[in-house]
C-alpha cells in the first residue's frame, strides 16, 4: 500500500503548538512517554506512536488516529521525557491541528495557527451577528424590555439558522474524522461490525459525561501533583463543572426556546431559569479555576498556553457573565441602556461561541467523544477474541 508522506507535517503542527519552540524532533522514540502514561495501558499507542507519525510525516495516519483524543494532558510524559520533547504539549498541538484539518471551511486553520487569525475569525463572526441584530434593533428607548429591544423572534430565527449551519459544519468535521479512521481500519484488515457500535457509543458518551478516564488520569499520574490537589480543584472535577454547567445552561435555553413564550415574565425559581442560573454559577466556578491555574502556569495541563487555549475559556466566561447579568436585569423595573448593551453583548458572544464551536478548542466535545467511540468500537470485539484465544 502506498503511503503519502507530508514532509512539512511537523512544522505545520508546531504552528499549532502552545510553545513555539516545541521540539518534537528531539524525540528519539525511547517509549518512556507511552510506558509512563496512566491511560496508554489498553492500547500502547500514544504518545510515542503519534509523535513518530508526525516525525515521519504520516499525515493521514495521524488524522485517522483516535489516540490524540484519548490524552487528557496530565503531563506525566512531559515531566519524565529524557529529551524534553514535551509530548503533552505536542498532543495538544496535534489536537489543534486535527481540528483545523477536519474543518472544511479553512476558518479553523486560520483561528488556531495565530493570534491575529483567531481574533480575525472572532471579529468576523461578531460583526456578522452584530449586523444581523442591528437590523431589527430598537435603540434609544431605555425602558424597553430586553426582548423588545431586540425582538425575541429575530434572535430565535438567527439562532436556529446558526445551529443548522454549525450542525452541518460539525457533521462534515466528524465525517472527515470517521471516514479517515474507517478507511485506515479497513485497510489494516480490522472489521468493525455494526452490532458492537451502540455499545461503543454508549461507553464513549458515559465516559465523556462521567469523566471516568479523566479521573484515572488524575489519580495515577505519579509525578504531577494532581493527586495532592484538594478534591474541588482536581482537573477532572473542574472540567466536569465547566461541562456540567454548560450543559445545564444549554438545556435551560433549549427548554425555554421550546416551551416558554418569548419574554414572558417568570419568577427566579421558575425551573428553567433556576437551572440556567445554577448552571452558570457552576460553570463559572470551573472556569475561574481554569483561568487562575492557566495564569499561574505552574502545573499540567496549564503550563503552556497558546492564544487559542485562552480564547475559548475566556469567551465562555464572558458569555456566562453577561448571561448572568441579564438574568438580574430582567427583574429590574427598567433595563436602562447598560442592560441593553449587556444583553446585546451576551447574544453576540453566545452566538460567537456556538459559531466557533467546530473551529476552536470547543470542537473537542465533538471529536473527543467520537474518537472515544471509535476506539471502543475497534477494541471491543478484538479483546473478546483474544481472551477466547488465550483460554483455548
Amino acid at each position: 500500500m502506498a503511503r503519502v508522506v507530508n514532509t512539512s507535517l511537523l512544522n505545520t503542527i508546531k504552528k499549532h503548538g502552545a510553545k513555539r519552540n516545541l521540539d518534537v524532533s528531539a524525540c528519539f522514540n525511547c517509549g518512556n512517554c507511552t510506558a509512563v502514561c496512566p491511560l496508554a495501558k489498553d492500547s500502547g499507542g500514544f504518545p510515542r506512536r503519534v509523535l513518530r507519525m508526525a516525525q515521519v510525516g504520516m499525515e493521514q495516519e495521524l488524522l485517522a488516529s483516535e489516540e490524540i483524543w484519548r490524552c487528557y494532558a496530565c503531563g506525566e510524559c512531559t515531566q519524565t521525557c529524557p529529551r524534553q520533547a514535551d509530548p503533552a504539549a505536542f498532543m495538544a498541538a496535534a489536537r489543534s491541528y486535527a481540528i483545523s484539518r477536519y474543518d472544511f471551511t479553512g476558518l479553523a486553520a486560520l483561528a488556531n495557527r495565530s493570534v491575529l487569525g483567531n481574533l480575525f475569525v472572532f471579529a468576523l463572526f461578531s460583526a456578522v451577528f452584530s449586523g444581523l441584530l442591528f437590523a431589527r434593533m430598537n435603540p434609544g428607548q431605555p425602558d424597553l424590555p430586553l426582548f423588545h429591544f431586540i425582538p425575541g423572534e429575530w434572535i430565535h430565527a438567527i439562532g436556529v439558522a446558526l445551529f443548522a449551519v454549525v450542525g452541518i459544519s460539525a457533521f462534515f468535521g466528524i465525517a472527515s474524522m470517521v471516514w479517515r479512521n474507517w478507511r485506515q481500519q479497513t485497510q489494516q484488515g480490522h472489521t468493525l461490525p455494526l452490532s458492537t457500535l451502540p455499545r461503543a457509543v454508549y461507553s464513549a458518551i458515559s465516559d465523556a459525561l462521567l469523566h471516568q478516564r479523566f479521573q484515572q488520569c488524575d489519580a495515577e499520574s505519579a509525578a504531577s501533583d494532581r493527586a495532592e490537589l484538594p478534591w474541588y480543584q482536581r482537573p477532572w472535577l473542574v472540567h466536569a463543572s465547566v461541562m456540567g454547567g454548560f450543559l445545564a445552561m444549554l438545556l435551560a435555553t433549549t427548554l425555554d426556546f421550546l416551551f416558554k413564550p418569548i419574554g414572558s415574565p417568570v419568577p427566579p425559581w421558575y425551573p428553567m431559569r433556576l437551572l440556567g442560573a445554577i448552571g452558570g454559577l457552576v460553570c463559572l466556578y470551573g472556569l475561574s479555576i481554569v483561568l487562575l491555574r492557566r495564569a499561574q502556569g505552574k502545573d499540567h495541563p496549564y503550563t503552556k498556553s497558546s492564544f487559542s487555549d485562552w480564547f475559548f475559556p475566556v469567551l465562555l466566561t464572558v458569555t456566562v457573565l453577561t448571561g448572568l447579568a441579564c438574568e438580574v436585569i430582567v427583574y429590574l423595573p427598567s433595563p436602562a441602556t447598560t442592560g441593553h448593551v449587556l444583553f446585546f453583548a451576551h447574544v453576540v458572544f453566545a452566538m460567537d461561541l456556538v459559531a466557533m464551536l467546530p473551529l476552536t478548542k470547543f470542537a473537542h466535545v465533538l471529536y473527543r467523544t467520537v474518537a472515544l467511540a471509535l476506539f471502543a468500537w475497534r477494541h471491543a470485539p478484538e479483546k473478546a477474541e483474544v481472551s477466547v484465544g488465550v483460554e483455548a
Binding site: C30, N32, C33, T34, A35, G44, Q79, P82
Partner: protein, 437 residues
C-alpha cells in the same frame, strides 16, 4: 595519620585523588624523577576501581590490575601519599600554587601501626561497610579492606565508643585517641586534578521507586556482589537473600535524561551492564538477564565484539526506556516499558527479582568553588583547549580521568598518562625559564 609531611615539603607536583587516574599520573611523573605528593580523601588509595569485580572488555580481575599500581605508587621513592586528606583550596598566584590540605585524624599512629589487625579483631562495634556498599559489616577500627594501601588501621570516630579495647590489644601502642586534624600548605608548580566521579542518587527518578525496594540496586553494589571476595561470596538479592532468577538492567537511569538535569551520556553504563550480565550468567547460570536500553553505545576497541558476545550468550536486550518501576509482591519489581520489538504488544509490564539502575556519573569533587579551575556546563572540570585535552583554565593545573568527564578505565589511564606528560613538560619548561633568567 602520616605526620612526616610538613608545610616545608616542596614536591614538583601534587596529584589530587588516588584512584586509577591519580595513581597512573603519579607513577608516570615519579618515573621521570619528579617528586610527587598524592592526596587521597579516603583511607586507602585505589578509588572506585579497586572495588570492582572485573573490567571490560578483557574480563580481567580489577584487583589484579589495580593492586600492583597501588603498591608501586606506595613503594615509589618519589611518591609521598597522604590518605584521609582533603584539599581545602588551591591558591594560585603568579603560576605558583599553594595547596591547602586538611589531614583528618585516623586515631592511629601510622609509624607505629604494623597492620596486624589485632585491634580490628578485638573491637566489638560494627557498622555497615562502605567498601561493600553497606552490604557487609566492618568494625569501628579496621584496615579499610583486604588489599587497602596503606595497610593501617583507621578508627571510625562516629561509631567508636572509646571502650579502650583496641588500645589495650595493640602490640605497638599505636592507638592515639587524642589525635587532632592537621592543616598543611604545600607549595608546588604543577597540580593534576584526578578527583574522579560519584554516581547520582538511586532516587533521582521518583518513578523508579528505589527508596521503596532494597532490590533496586546500584551497579557498584552489583560489582561487590559479583566480586569473589564480596560481602556474601555469591550473588544474593539484598531484601531476602534469595538467589535472583530474573535480573533487569535499566540503562540511562541517571543520565541522558534532561528531566533530571543530566543530559550527557555517562559512557560506561552500556559496557559495564554487558560485563555484569556476562558475569551474572556465569554466577547464576539459570537466571534470565535483561538489559533495557535506549541504544547500546559500544564504541571502544573490542567493545562491539564484547556486545555481540553477550547477545550470543543469551542476554536479552530490550530496546525501550523503562518509565516506571513498581514494587510488587515478594520483593519483586514490575517494570513498565514500551518496546519497539514487539509491534503487536508494545506496552509491557515485566517482572524481575532484582533491578540494577545505571546511575549517572557526576563529578566527585567541585574544584571550581575553592580553586581557580573552572567547571564546564556539565559540572566537570573544563578543558577548554582541544589540542591540550588535559589542560584546565589555570596554567600548571591539569586534569585526568573522570574529573574531566565520564569515561572508562581504558580512557582514564590514557588520559592520566597524557596529563602526567603535559605536567612534566610544563615543569621542565618552567625550570629552563628559571635557568635562563
Amino acid at each position: 595519620m602520616n605526620t612526616h609531611v610538613t608545610s616545608d615539603f616542596r614536591p614538583d607536583a601534587v596529584v589530587i585523588g588516588g584512584g586509577i587516574a591519580g595513581l597512573q599520573s603519579a607513577l608516570d611523573l615519579a618515573d621521570q624523577d619528579l617528586q610527587v605528593l598524592l592526596v587521597e580523601r579516603q583511607s586507602s588509595i585505589g578509588g572506585h576501581m579497586i572495588s570492582l569485580s572485573k573490567v571490560y572488555p578483557t574480563l580481567d580481575c580489577a584487583s589484579c590490575i589495580t593492586t600492583p599500581k597501588m603498591s608501586a605508587a606506595a613503594h615509589h621513592p618519589n611518591i609521598t601519599i597522604l590518605t584521609n586528606t582533603e584539599v581545602e583550596g588551591v591558591d594560585t598566584c603568579d603560576e605558583k600554587h599553594s595547596v591547602r590540605l586538611l589531614q583528618k585524624p585516623t586515631y592511629v599512629n601510622f609509624d607505629k601501626c604494623i597492620g596486624c589487625r589485632l585491634c580490628e579483631y578485638a573491637c566489638d562495634t560494627e557498622v555497615p561497610d562502605p567498601f561493600e556498599e553497606g552490604l557487609g559489616a566492618v568494625r569501628a577500627i579496621a584496615v579499610p579492606f583486604t588489599n587497602a594501601i596503606p595497610q593501617k588501621a583507621v578508627l571510625n570516630a562516629e561509631a567508636c565508643g572509646t571502650c579502650g579495647t583496641c588500645a589495650r590489644v595493640c602490640p605497638t601502642g599505636a592507638i592515639e585517641y587524642d589525635q587532632q586534624p592537621r592543616r598543611l600548605t604545600i607549595r608546588t608548580d604543577a597540580i593534576i586534578v584526578a578527583s574522579g566521579f560519584n554516581l547520582n542518587s538511586l532516587n533521582i527518578k521518583p518513578q523508579y521507586n528505589a527508596q521503596h525496594s532494597s532490590n533496586i540496586i546500584s551497579p557498584l553494589t552489583l560489582e561487590r556482589l559479583l566480586a569473589p571476595h564480596g560481602p556474601y561470596g555469591r550473588v544474593l538479592r539484598p531484601s531476602d537473600g534469595k538467589i535472583p532468577g530474573s535480573i533487569a538492567f535499566v540503562q540511562c537511569a541517571g543520565s541522558r535524561d534532561e528531566s533530571i538535569g543530566v543530559s550527557y551520556c555517562s559512557r560506561v553504563c552500556c559496557m559495564y551492564a554487558i560485563k555484569q550480565s556476562m558475569l551474572l550468567s556465569g554466577a547464576l547460570p539459570l537466571a534470565d538477564i535483561t538489559i533495557y536500553y535506549m541504544d547500546i553505545r559500544a564504541f571502544g576497541k573490542g567493545y562491539e565484539q564484547f556486545f555481540q558476545n553477550a547477545k550470543a550468550m543469551g542476554i536479552n536486550f530490550v530496546r525501550g526506556k523503562v518509565a516506571r518501576i513498581d514494587p510488587i509482591t515478594d520483593g519483586d519489581l514490575s517494570l513498565h516499558v514500551e518496546t519497539t520489538e514487539d509491534a503487536d504488544n508494545p506496552l509491557q509490564e515485566r517482572r524481575h527479582d532484582l533491578v540494577v539502575l545505571a546511575q549517572g556519573m557526576i563529578p566527585g569533587w567541585q574544584p571550581s568553588t575553592i580553586t581557580q579551575v573552572a567547571s564546564a556546563s556539565d559540572g566537570f572540570v573544563a578543558t577548554p583547549m582541544l589540542t591540550a585535552p588535559t589542560a584546565t583554565t589555570v596554567p600548571g593545573i591539569f586534569v585526568a580521568g573522570t574529573a574531566a568527564g565520564p569515561k572508562d578505565i581504558v580512557d582514564t589511564i590514557a588520559e592520566a598518562g597524557a596529563a602526567a606528560m603535559q605536567a612534566s613538560q610544563y615543569l621542565h619548561q618552567k625550570r629552563a625559564e628559571v635557568l635562563v633568567a
